[in-house]
């Protein structure tokens, strides 16, 4: 089971801010996960945009990392507060 978090405008597309999923066995990297979630929520390439950052267990990752040890995966659009 892995918790997936969608922030900012991504949650408008997925219609949810988080979901906990039992992933199929063959979804074991970030890229595979993005494709799988893209189909599940009809997101087009929304998760694949360069501006979307990915965090595994609250740490930023850059390439096509393994998600074998992921309890929490977050997808983060460009940020900005203040």
């Amino acid at each position: 089971m892995v918790k997936i978090l969608y922030f900012g405008r991504l949650s408008d597309r997925t219609q949810c801010r988080e979901e906990t999923i039992d992933l199929p066995d063959d979804i074991c990297t970030i890229n595979a996960l993005k494709t799988w979630l893209g189909q599940r929520h009809d997101l087009g390439d929304a998760l694949n945009l360069e501006s979307i950052k990915t965090m595994i267990n609250q740490e930023l990752v850059h390439g096509n990392e393994s998600i074998a040890n992921a309890q929490e995966i977050g997808f983060l659009p460009p940020v900005g507060g203040g």
């Binding site: 922030f7 900012g8 405008r9 977050g74 983060l76 659009p77 460009p78 940020v79 900005g80 507060g81």
Partner: protein, 146 residues
Amino acid sequence: MVIISATEFDPGAHLNSFMDASQNAGAIASFIGRVRGEHNEVESLYLESYADVTERGIENAESEARARWPLIDVLVIHRIGTMRSGDPIVLVATASEHRRSAFEACDFLMDYLKTEAIFWKKQTTKSGSEWVEPRAADYQDNKRWS
């Protein structure tokens, strides 16, 4: 100290407490950002954070500010949730022995909050809601420190 607050906060009261706690500081700079009227078009602003990740990020920025300038104390309060026109969004206060350090560290922390802090901002006007991302000017300001 970093506070992420889901409820409205009182900037003046926090600033006074901050001053009381750092009696040796001769110089206190602060910045308050709040929901603008934009000619009364903005009906509400919603801010979302990523729990501890957001807080840790701001704490790191605070550490960086303390490494760059001789600061006695730092306070960052940032709202999340729904705010209305006039509500405070952020208070940054820096206490130092000297005014230049206090000003620069406050300015630096605001640049971090505007461009790198992990918040997402949704603005609701009469014509609907949209997520707002930093302006080019904000990124430009932030580059001054690198």
